[in-house]
Structures are given as structure tokens and as C-alpha cells.
């Protein structure tokens, strides 16, 4: 019912653009999950298309499998740990230890940055071996998919930065931290996405 009742609760004379950003319109339960699901759907379709492309391209005569740099797997570990830290932050919030949450959150975000740095190290490792974009379609897919995935991680880092700011301001309580929850879902998604891409490129 809240979806329906909220619509009338903001007085008409809320000045547009007052404060930061625009006034949030009345929004109800399910708004953010729906938005999040739609975002995940569109990202899923993007990587589904890349997957299809990879599977088709793999049958080409010139497909030479490359050895994925070891650091790429380490990065997979980094992003999994980062996700776990994010869950620790949520658990801390739920159990009422709101002051600890920013610490876990900050660590998670830092590991996210470390992941991106690690991806660049992975590229450099490949290049040091003489594997460049045109070297092999497999290499091209590795560079391209890690770059496109990196862009999505960057978006996730933005969301984490936002939640970190909110957490530092003490805006999150044990029951009210939906922003963090949704950022966490997205973060787990891009983390899992990297693991998926690694496996895909390993077996390809």
C-alpha cells in the first residue's frame, strides 16, 4: 500500500532543485529493486552478447588460446574478498554497530580500486609477453572484456563511494540502509561477472 500512499505526501511547493540534486519524487517500496533489476538485466544482456560473440568467434581458424595472466585470477580473489567485506559492513549495520560499517565499506572500496589496478597490471603482464590486441582473437577478447567489465566496476566504485559518504555521515541505521544493500547487490554482480568471464575465457 505504501507505493500508493506516498504519492501525495510531498507538498506541491517543494522548490525544484532545492538542496542537492532534485527533490526525490514520491517513491515507494520496490522502486530501487526494480531499478536495480533492470540495470542488471541490461548489463546481463550486454555480456550475453559478448559471450555469444566469443563462442562464435572461437570457431574461427585463427583462434590461438593465450595463457591468462596469473594476476587476473588474483584479481578475481580480490573482488570476492571485497564483496565479503561489503557483507561485513551490512552485518555490522544490522547488528547495530553502525560505527564499524564505514571501515568495512572503505576497505571494500579500496579493494575495488586494487582490482582495477590489478587489471592494468594484468594488461601489462600480457604486453610484456608480447601479447597485444591484434595478436590473437582470444587476447582481443581478454583486453576488451576486461576493459568493458572495468567500466562497470568503475560505476560500482562510484556507488560504493556514495554509500561510504552516507555511512560516514551516519545516515545508515540498522533498519535503513537500502542504498548500501543495493550497491552491494550490484557489487556482488560485477564481482561474479568477472569470475564468470575468467572461466569463460579459460575454457575458450
Amino acid at each position: 500500500m505504501s507505493r500508493l500512499t506516498l504519492a501525495g505526501t510531498i507538498p506541491l511547493d517543494v522548490p525544484q532543485g532545492a538542496g542537492r540534486g532534485a527533490p526525490l519524487p514520491p517513491s515507494g517500496r520496490g522502486l530501487y529493486p526494480m531499478f536495480l533489476m533492470a540495470v542488471l538485466a541490461t548489463v546481463t544482456m550486454l555480456f550475453a552478447a559478448f559471450t555469444a560473440a566469443l563462442l562464435i568467434r572461437r570457431s574461427g581458424s585463427d583462434w590461438i588460446a593465450i595463457e591468462l595472466p596469473a594476476i587476473a585470477w588474483v584479481n578475481g580473489g580480490v573482488i570476492v574478498v571485497s564483496s565479503a567485506l561489503l557483507e561485513l559492513a551490512r552485518r555490522a549495520l544490522r547488528s547495530g554497530a553502525a560505527s564499524v560499517a564505514p571501515l568495512w565499506l572503505g576497505l571494500a572500496a579500496a579493494l575495488g580500486l586494487l582490482f582495477l589496478a590489478g587489471q592494468i597490471v594484468a594488461w601489462r603482464a600480457l604486453m610484456a609477453e608480447g601479447v597485444f590486441l591484434p595478436s590473437s582473437p582470444h587476447a582481443a577478447f581478454f583486453y576488451m572484456l576486461s576493459a568493458v567489465h572495468g567500466a562497470h566496476v568503475l560505476g560500482g566504485l562510484g556507488a560504493l563511494g556514495w554509500t561510504l559518504r552516507s555511512a560516514l555521515r551516519g545516515a545508515y541505521t540498522a533498519t535503513m540502509h537500502r542504498g548500501l544493500s543495493h550497491a552491494a547487490v550490484y557489487w556482488h554482480f560485477v564481482g561474479a561477472l568477472w569470475i564468470y568471464l575468467l572461466i569463460l575465457m579459460r575454457i575458450a
Binding site: 504519492a7 519524487p25 514520491p26 522502486l31 544482456m45 591484434p134 540502509h177
Partner: protein, 599 residues
């Protein structure tokens, strides 16, 4: 808009977060792009009708395109490419889906704004640079992209094979990337708004059909655009990174053997059409939704088969995602796969036939008021039938071999995503203009506009079907090159004359638009006696639409039913006998809770 100082001009009209202002911004941007795209089409038509004529006058205006008065073939295919790209993505998508959708969705569902107003503004201001980039590409070395709006590699990947595949194609890809980003943001906003911001009592099955079609469009947009993004990224890598996703070995261009190997151009085609086909429905369905709303309001009767229409829309949406291969029947795909695509493609005519029947049947026992909006809506009924039936020739694999890449295809899709969609835009503008500006457009000018438009476009695009049946190929700079087509050349002249009349008719529309905004007759709150929610707010609708969004008690089209044979019952008016139920539904005053966390 009382109780606070008005926002400065730039926050109200430039960087606005108001869905209605953003909708109008989209429409105006689309109108500007339409002038460019229509201008290109006029030059294309001149070339089609009189391919060997010199144009010294045009040389003075476009010296680089008309050297010595002769249109350069490379500029011709640039025009064909950019006309298609701009029309599909930067005119129809912008005006019909982003523009009208932004304006009407919150008003239809009883929301005070979009779910994410800031994202909405961001989405608009992403499309502006996209438009500028597309326009700028005409002025770079080699000219604008020229590989067709489909941009098939290798042509679009090899600057050596085509001048336009240089910087122009890169700008095309960047412009498209920005467009996709913007359209995805818009679709996310539409989807959440429709699903989560509906007012009290507005169940899904009480939504006006325009909003239903916008919903289906948004879902298709979210799911279908990413594969095109993937294709565009891979094409960029092929062009600038030396990869060969789409480029096979052994290509010889300009006497040089190119260093690519192993890629396949067909992969791009699959990815492109996985978007390309649903995109057609993204554009066509909202026009049909608008036709339903307009026909119900001016026919003074409920839409025939509201529920079957909604279900048909959903079936169309699902089918549209699995039929893309019918654009590739002649590409040498496995014949069994081709036959599959053919079977599912023509199956789309089933739900479409239901929608068409419901549109026509919505005129039965109506009391038609033939306003300009209504005329365009009835025009949509005829056009969607004509275009849809033409689609059967192309969806049937065995006959598509003959029609593929012929002018028949051009006639067909100009009916569907040319006539149907632009009539949708016109119907919507004439219909909701009072709500947008608080004034009416002139009905007399409107009817002149209608009659000068529908005659020529029907004549021209039906004639293109004949030309295609005669075997004329599309994207041909000089149609008289082929001897067997030469006897039909006079048709091209007539088509050009007809379309020039149609283009001139749009001047009437622009005059009417400006006249209406400045001097039009003042409109009251509900000038058309409409039953849907947008008519419960003042004209023009104020920022945030309602102080208290209305509660909804019924479906959107209660005209002359339930004993109110004379009049109609708006969605927000409770039945007398339901009065107590209404009180119960309204419940105690709601707690003012801002949704969600502090984000």
C-alpha cells in the same frame, strides 16, 4: 507553483528535472534533427528522380557534395546512411518514445514526476552531444558515415574501402554509443515509474494503452540495445585496435592485402539485428498506443478489446526478440535456421492482427469527432495495416529472396517506422498540445496539414512497393543504371513530386505549432472530455502535476457506458454506490515517509 520563488530560467527550462519540460526538450531536439533528416531525404529524392541532372544551385549551397553540379556518389550514400540513422534514432526514438513518453507517462499513471528526475535530465543531456556529434560528422575528412544505417563491416570498418568509413564512421559509433546510454537511462526511468509510481488504484490493467506500449518499449529497449553496444565496441576495436572480430583474412582493398584474419562479418549482422528488429517495435508500438487513446477519446467509446490488446503487445514483445534473422535470409545462413526465422516472423502477424482488429473495432458504435488528432489516429490504422501486410512478403523466406534489399523494403519500413510513427507523433502533439502549452493548435491548419501529408505519403510509399516488385534495388545512386528498371523511372519522378508536397505540408505544421504556442485559443483543463488522469490537472500541467495525485477507480476508457450513455466517467471519479468503498480505500491520511534510505 505557489508558495516559493520560481526557479531561475535555466533550472526551469534548460537543466530541468521536470518530466514535462524534458519531454518537450526531446521533442524540440527531434524536430531540429528532423529538419536535417528531411532535408537529406529531399536531396536523395531529387537524385532518384533526375539522376543525370546538373544542380548548379545546389552546388552553391553544398559545394563539396555537388562538384560541378553533379552529386558525388559518396555523398549520396552518406545521405542515405545519415537519413536512416537520424530518423530512426534521433527523430522517431527521441520524439515518440523519449519525448511523448516523458511527457505523458507520469501524467497517465498519476505520478508527480519520473522515478529518477535527475537521471531523466542526465539522459536528455546525453542525447544533446550525441546529436552534435552526428551532425559534426558531415564536416570531417571523408564525410559522414556511409556504410548504411546498418553499418555492416567490412565496409564500415575499412576507411580504404569507403571515404565515409574514416573519421565519419568513428563519430557515428560514438554518437550511437551516447544515444544508447541515453535511451537506456530513459527506459530504466520509464520502467520504474510505470511499475512503482502508479497512484492509488491505478492497477496495471487500468493504465491507458499509450503507457502500456511505452512500458513494452522500455523493456525491449533495456534488453535489445546491449547487443548493439557490444557490436559497436567490437567494431571500434576492429577499426582502431587492429583486432579482427568481424574481419576475415585475405581482404584486398586498394591493392593491399589487409592483416586481418578469421573474423566473420555475419556476427555483426546478428548482433545488429538482435537490436534492430525489436527497435522497430520500440517505435511502432507507442504509435499504436497513442492511436488507441485518441480513438477512444474522440470515438466516445471504450477501446475494443483492451485486455486482448495488452496480451497481444506482450506477445509481440516476446516474438520480436527471436525473429531478427529475417533480415538475413539472403546472407547464406543455414536454410533450416532461415526457415525457423521465417515461421516465427510471420507469426508476429497474429498478435498484430488482433491489435489491428481492436483498433478498427474501436470505431464500431462510436460517435466519431474527426479532430486533427483523430484523423492522424485513423491514418495510423490504415498505415499499420498496409505496412504490416507488406511485411509478410519480407518475412516469408521464399519471397524475401526476391524482395530483399529492394525498394519494396524501403516502402515497407517507411510505412511502419515512417508513416505510422510520425502519425503517432502528430496525433499525440495535436491531442496533448493543450496539456503541454495551455493552448490549442489551429484545427483548420491541422486538417490542411493532415490532408497534405497523408495523400502524398501513401501514394509515394505504396508506389515504392511497385518499384520493388519490379526489382529495383535500394541504395542505388542512379536507378537508371539497370536497363530492366529504366521503364519504371517515371515512378521515381512521381514519388519525388509527392514527397515534396508532403515535406512542404510540414511547414504548415511548424507554423501551426508556433501559432498554437503563442496565439492559440486558451485550453481548459479537459478540452476533449478525456477520462484519463492527465485531464485532471490544469492546462498547462504545473510542475509536479498534482498537489495530491488523484485516486483511480476504473479503467481508462469509460465513455458512454454504465448508464452514462451521454457522457463519460473519468478514472478518478468514484461511483456513487462505491463512495464508501472509496473512503475505505483512501484510508487514514498517509504518513509522510520519504521512500528508502538517504540516497
Amino acid at each position: 507553483m505557489t508558495g516559493h520563488a520560481p526557479l531561475p530560467f535555466w533550472r526551469r527550462y534548460i537543466f530541468s528535472t521536470d518530466h514535462k519540460i524534458i519531454g518537450l526538450q526531446y521533442i524540440l531536439t527531434a524536430a531540429f534533427m528532423a529538419i536535417v533528416a528531411v532535408g537529406l531525404s529531399v536531396l536523395i529524392r531529387l537524385q532518384m528522380a533526375w539522376p543525370q541532372t546538373l544542380w548548379p544551385a545546389l552546388e552553391r549551397i553544398l559545394p563539396r557534395a555537388y562538384e560541378g553540379g553533379v552529386l558525388l556518389p559518396e555523398f549520396y550514400i552518406s545521405m542515405v546512411t545519415m537519413h536512416g540513422t537520424i530518423m530512426v534514432f534521433f527523430v522517431i526514438s527521441l520524439a515518440l518514445v523519449s519525448g511523448i513518453g516523458n511527457f505523458i507517462i507520469p501524467l497517465h499513471v498519476g505520478a508527480r514526476d519520473m522515478a529518477y528526475p535527475f537521471l531523466n535530465m542526465l539522459s536528455y543531456w546525453t542525447i544533446v552531444p550525441a546529436c552534435l556529434i552526428m551532425l559534426a560528422s558531415f564536416f570531417v575528412e571523408g564525410g559522414a558515415a556511409a556504410g548504411g544505417w546498418t553499418s555492416y563491416p567490412p565496409l564500415s570498418a575499412l576507411p580504404g574501402a569507403l571515404p565515409g568509413s574514416g573519421l565519419g564512421q568513428t563519430l557515428w559509433l560514438l554518437g550511437m554509443a551516447l544515444f544508447i546510454a541515453s535511451f537506456t537511462m530513459g527506459s530504466l526511468n520509464f520502467l520504474t515509474t510505470i511499475l512503482n509510481l502508479r497512484t492509488r488504484g491505478m492497477s496495471l490493467m487500468r493504465m491507458p494503452l499509450t503507457t502500456w506500449t511505452m512500458f513494452v518499449s522500455s523493456v525491449l529497449g533495456i534488453l535489445a540495445f546491449p547487443p548493439l553496444t557490444a557490436a559497436a565496441i567490437m567494431l571500434l576495436f576492429d577499426r582502431h585496435g587492429g583486432t579482427s572480430f568481424f574481419l576475415p583474412g585475405g581482404l584486398v582493398v586498394g591493392g593491399q592485402v589487409l592483416p586481418f584474419d578469421g573474423g566473420t562479418p555475419l556476427l555483426f549482422q546478428h548482433l545488429f539485428w538482435f537490436l534492430g528488429h525489436p527497435e522497430v517495435y520500440v517505435l511502432v508500438l507507442p504509435a499504436l498506443g497513442i492511436a488507441f487513446d485518441v480513438v477512444a477519446t474522440f470515438g466516445r467509446r471504450p477501446v475494443f478489446g483492451y485486455r486482448t490488446t495488452v496480451w497481444s503487445l506482450l506477445v509481440v514483445a516476446v516474438l520480436s526478440m527471436i525473429v531478427w534473422g529475417h533480415h538475413m535470409f539472403t546472407s547464406g545462413m543455414n536454410p533450416y535456421v532461415g526457415e525457423y526465422f521465417s515461421i516465427v516472423t510471420v507469426a508476429i502477424t497474429l498478435p498484430f492482427a488482433v491489435i489491428g482488429l481492436n483498433l478498427i473495432a474501436s470505431l464500431w458504435r462510436a460517435e466519431l469527432r474527426l479532430t486533427t488528432a483523430m484523423l492522424f489516429a485513423i491514418g495510423i490504422i490504415s498505415a499499420v495495416g498496409t505496412g504490416g501486410l507488406g511485411g509478410l512478403y519480407l518475412g516469408t523466406a521464399a519471397s524475401d529472396i526476391y524482395f530483399h534489399d529492394s525498394v519494396f523494403v524501403v516502402g515497407h519500413f517507411h510505412f511502419m517506422i515512417g508513416v505510422v510513427t510520425s502519425f503517432g507523433i502528430f496525433a499525440a502533439l495535436y491531442f496533448w498540445f493543450p496539456k503541454m502549452f495551455g493552448r490549442h493548435m489551429s484545427e483548420t491548419l491541422g486538417k490542411v496539414h493532415f490532408w497534405l501529408t497523408i495523400g502524398p505519403v501513401f501514394a509515394a510509399f505504396i508506389a515504392m512497393h511497385y518499384l520493388g516488385l519490379g526489382g529495383a534495388l535500394r541504395r542505388v545512386y542512379d536507378p537508371t543504371v539497370y536497363e530492366y528498371i529504366r521503364p519504371l523511372q517515371q515512378m521515381n519522378v512521381w514519388i519525388t513530386y509527392a514527397l515534396i508536397v508532403a515535406v512542404v505540408a510540414q511547414l504548415v505544421f511548424f507554423v501551426n505549432l508556433v501559432y498554437g504556442m503563442l496565439w492559440g485559443r486558451r485550453a481548459e483543463e479537459n478540452p476533449w472530455q478525456g477520462a484519463t488522469l492527465e485531464w485532471t490537472t490544469p492546462s498547462p500541467a504545473p510542475h509536479l502535476n498534482w498537489a495530491e495525485p488523484p485516486t483511480v477507480f476504473r479503467g481508462p476508457y469509460q465513455y458512454r457506458v454504465n448508464g452514462t450513455a451521454e457522457g463519460y466517467t473519468p478514472q478518478h471519479v468514484p461511483d456513487r454506490m462505491d463512495q464508501s468503498a472509496a473512503e475505505a480505500l483512501r484510508g487514514p491520511p498517509a504518513e509522510p515517509t520519504l521512500a528508502g534510505g538517504p540516497e
